[in-house]
Symmetry: C2
Subunit: 601 residues, 2 copies
């Protein structure tokens, strides 16, 4: 279906919004009145600009407080409307949004509303304009779509129809099923918005917290299904009032927006992208650094062995069990120290995974290949992390590991831990997201990689609240904790981390310390509370205390975890999950964050 976006959903002056919408690949836009009023371009110039960009103007919006008012006021409203109809002719758009009245002067009289809307539609017809009437969730008398439809039906005018907005309908808890009983040709326009589930005043909720479909908690896909079954074939348009998007870069937001419509159409069965290829594990994590020494020292203490060296690039492969870390000192290395720059995701079908990502507008990364390199495609996640789709040492496909020449060091092939410290794979990755792109990141990982998103949790840092939201495969083979700081600008210096799984944390932690590693010291007060809270025996928690091991329980099992020092912008976590524990130790995060602030070690 055609795609459209309201200019209010993007930041910047009108021309910047239009450019961003066109570049992302939208077919059209809704012109939001304030964006026109603040633009130095005349309506004719805006029309030309849109045409040049390949955008249609699908809607002009909004007209407010038109109907169900005393005669004299309605006469004034008609005069005002005629001004706008003339303006719309100059813009070259033929549909106007009329919101149900919120005026204190509006009366609760459907017949009057219908009669006046009929008059408005009559006037609109003279200008070849259609009127799309929308029930605002907080409309004074008309605030449900079925009520708006009764009025439109009663008015019975060929230039009067409905605008349906998923937020207004779903936020009130209306059942969208009866939309199917509305003739499709009377649904003039469809606005799509999601929103997180918040118990708050619906107007404030709408004005500040709307988000793109799939980023919130409303069933926008189910809603769209009803609208399509009604026979609607107009554009799918996004009208998003969001305090964060207002500050974000319009070009980025526009891509996020269009991706949300692709995923939405797929889940409604309207449009098929290449099927998602869900990853089955983490093939590697890649650190980029200008100085390999601190990282090498840390990896060695963790029990990793440098098993390979890339045949054509300054990249080392470190291994322990199925946990693999690449250390890259190539041109991408930056002065601000070691960063987590890339992830390899184990993929059942790397080529199909890359096609899926590209179809969902993930930026395909150019790869500096050296002769003989195994083909490996990668895309950029919203935070800039490169995602590689890998097949590691599988007989049927080339493996990226073939690019590495063995150093001669390797683990005991019997699989015993003789040469390691008991670490067997990467449990999860914790990636700090740019503040403006947290919702985009969640949708990206769900849509592009087929991961499931858990609920967002708040975590208290000494200097603000963090939010964290995990995305993972159903079996936990890939887990990524997306984090975001309390405000824009607070994200840049935040460390990322790599969590490594083991079966016996006390042993692994001890070996790490014996090998010269240092674990983050945790305050004694924490352990006394642990004793009080869980009744852990002293012989158990005193061991944890000595090592700095944290402890958590959920409905499924227990977590033991501890942290290494931070190298550049990266640190490691060691985790032992038992009994199917599903979380990430969020209750302990404030303790960890405070300890990291307190100690340079």
């Amino acid at each position: 279906m055609r795609t459209s976006i309201a200019t209010v959903s993007l930041s910047g002056p009108l021309t910047e919004k239009l450019t961003a919408a066109a570049r992302a690949g939208f077919d059209g836009v809704e012109i939001f009145e304030n964006d026109l009023l603040t633009s130095p371009l005349t309506p004719e110039e805006i029309r030309t600009r849109c045409a040049d960009l390949g955008l249609t103007i699908d809607l002009y919006q909004p007209m407010r407080d038109i109907e169900a008012v005393p005669d004299e006021e309605f006469a004034r409203n008609l005069r005002r409307a005629e001004h706008k109809f003339r303006l719309m002719r100059r813009l070259g758009t033929d549909t106007v949004l009329v919101c149900s009245s919120v005026s204190p002067n509006a009366v609760d009289d459907d017949a009057l509303a219908a009669a006046q809307l009929r008059q408005l539609a009559d006037l609109a017809s003279e200008y070849d304009i259609r009127v799309a009437y929308e029930a605002l969730a907080w409309g004074r008398h008309v605030n449900t779509y079925d009520h708006a439809w009764r009025i439109v039906e009663a008015a019975d005018h060929p230039a009067l129809g409905l605008c349906l907005d998923s937020f207004h309908i779903l936020a009130r808890g209306s059942d969208p099923k009866a939309i199917e009983d509305i003739p499709g040709e009377k649904i003039y326009f469809l606005q799509l918005a999601d929103a997180p589930q918040l118990a708050m005043d619906v107007l404030q909720w709408s004005r500040h917290y709307r988000c793109f479909p799939g980023q919130g908690g409303l069933d926008v896909a189910g809603f769209l299904g009803h609208v399509i079954r009604a026979g609607y074939d107009g554009p799918l348009s996004l009208e998003i009032f969001n305090d964060v998007f207002r500050q974000a870069d319009a070009a980025t937001t526009a891509v996020d927006a269009l991706r949300s419509l692709l995923v939405l159409q797929e889940s409604t069965g309207v449009h098929a992208s290449p099927a998602p290829v869900v990853p089955t594990g983490v093939a590697f994590a890649e650190l980029v650094t200008t100085d390999v020494e601190p990282t090498a020292e840390l990896l060695t203490a963790l029990g990793f062995i440098r098993t390979g060296r890339h045949h054509g690039k300054p990249v080392d492969l470190w291994e322990q069990g199925e946990a693999r870390i690449l250390v890259n000192t190539g041109p991408a290395a930056r002065r601000d120290g070691t960063v987590l720059a890339a992830l390899g995701l184990e993929s059942p079908d790397p080529a199909a995974a890359a096609q899926r990502a590209e179809a969902l507008l993930a930026p395909v990364l150019p790869r500096r290949r050296t002769p003989g390199d195994v083909p490996l495609s990668s895309v950029a996640a919203p935070d800039g992390t490169a995602l590689f789709f890998c097949a590691t040492r599988r007989p049927e496909l080339p493996s990226w590991t073939e690019d590495f020449e063995p150093t001669g060091q390797e683990f005991d092939p019997s699989g015993q831990e003789a040469d390691g410290h008991g670490i067997h794979h990467i449990d999860h990755l914790a990636l700090t997201q740019p503040w403006h792109q947290f919702d985009e990141a969640t949708l990206f990982h769900r849509g592009v990689l087929g991961l499931d998103a858990q609920d967002s949790v708040d975590v208290a840092d000494p200097y603000g609240l963090f939010r964290s939201r995990a995305v993972s495969t159903a079996d936990g083979s890939v887990r990524i904790a997306l984090g975001v700081g309390p405000g824009p600008g607070d994200d840049l210096g935040r460390p990322q981390h790599i969590a490594l799984a083991c079966d016996d944390l006390v042993t692994t932690a001890r070996r790490f310390c014996e090998a010269g590693g240092h674990l983050l010291p945790i305050p004694a007060n924490y352990y006394e509370d642990l004793a009080a809270r869980y009744g852990l025996p002293e012989e158990e928690w005193s061991v944890y205390r000595k090592l700095g091991i944290l402890y958590d329980r959920d409905a499924y099992g227990t977590l033991r975890h501890c942290y290494t020092r931070t190298v550049g912008r990266v640190f490691f976590e060691l985790v032992q999950r038992d009994g199917g524990y599903r979380g990430y130790g969020a209750p302990n995060a404030p303790v960890r964050l405070a300890a990291q602030r307190a100690v340079a070690f």
Copy 2:
């Protein structure tokens, strides 16, 4: 009364919080459990630190989900509680907060709740500890103070009393009057918090939006009156969960916090500060600049005349009617261009105004006096603006203008506008506030200066939502619009502005342009909308369009206004208020902001 603050109200690690509370002048603190858990200090060390800082530990909090649970669970709860009682002895605090249970296992059985709380109090007595039971607004079965009191009364134990929290009581809309029927000695603790009036889930409201008394919309003063009449004589303690304060500097927040308690005690009649001395006008606005030329050029075009030069400092006085601008090229001048650094407020009693400000913790600014200077005291507003308390050319008091030596240029003493452009006074000042201190700024201007605060309004800038809140005297003789950007860091470069009042804006604006001034150009689309919206005749709006004059109406009258170019970080607005218009042209602000973004002129 004694003052206290919960450590959760301040940012940073525990020791930073304690230092900030002590420096601001608090008598005590509530220790929030998480702050203890994350601290490397032992309980004994925390006790010593508090004693060294002159702080008592008035409360340990919270204990949760204790009461009205099955026997086995309660036995576990008692063991947990005993751990905490021992901890409290080491901390040296004797009161613990027990929140009403939110556990899914809690049963709706007041007798059981009372019996178990009695047992808890028995155990607490062994440690000389008192239990303060508090009804959380979202408690599972107990969520009102009167219900909590019935349970405490039924338990009838000398170590069991109530904790009252203004938020939990007022947010639910409970009538606080019946507090007076509770024996004062059974109110063990009082927590005070305000909050903006938000229609939202009460738990989220409490956890993110609490603010200091006087910064929100709850009647905390009325509430406190009831508690005092009940006979409570414990500390007034602030327990504020606020996402902004979590990120703000603890020392600044602590001063804001204590100021809120001073103002609160004053409005409840518990404690008297020196009475507020409400200013009666703006004596001057002071610009500081390294390069006087662009400012002088702009002031000249506006019709100002340089009437005086300070006898000992590089400061010029520019006048037109009662509008006075100081231009200072002294040591405070910074490379980033002209800034609005100080305001002179016309005060009926400058000395008393300064005493009031100092009593309310406004930082008194050291003044670089030159010999013979008229005494003039000043304090710093939260945004750093210096506020001078002035008596301008009043016979009974020395006038700051006496420090200026006449240049010989002056306006026609007959008061005619022959030498000016019709500007007669400073209408208002628009000051961008540091993002973390917006609530503080409002309380400061209300408390210290006795101004009234209007509601906050949202204004769309092309790159985010602004908030603006006006503070003013009842007669409008002093008006300050406090503004804040969409996020931290976005405030620094924002321009401030000085709005100048005239009676005939078209004439004043024309004279400004004739004198070489440039007004901010406003898009033509705005004027077409004006015609449609207000039915303004074309001969009127076409004049506005040529000049760049904006137009607004409120319930009282009309506003016409326009803007000069920005010099450094300052621009001027010209305003004509008619018929008692009370606002600041907020509906036009998005147009102005977009125009300022679009045009370098």
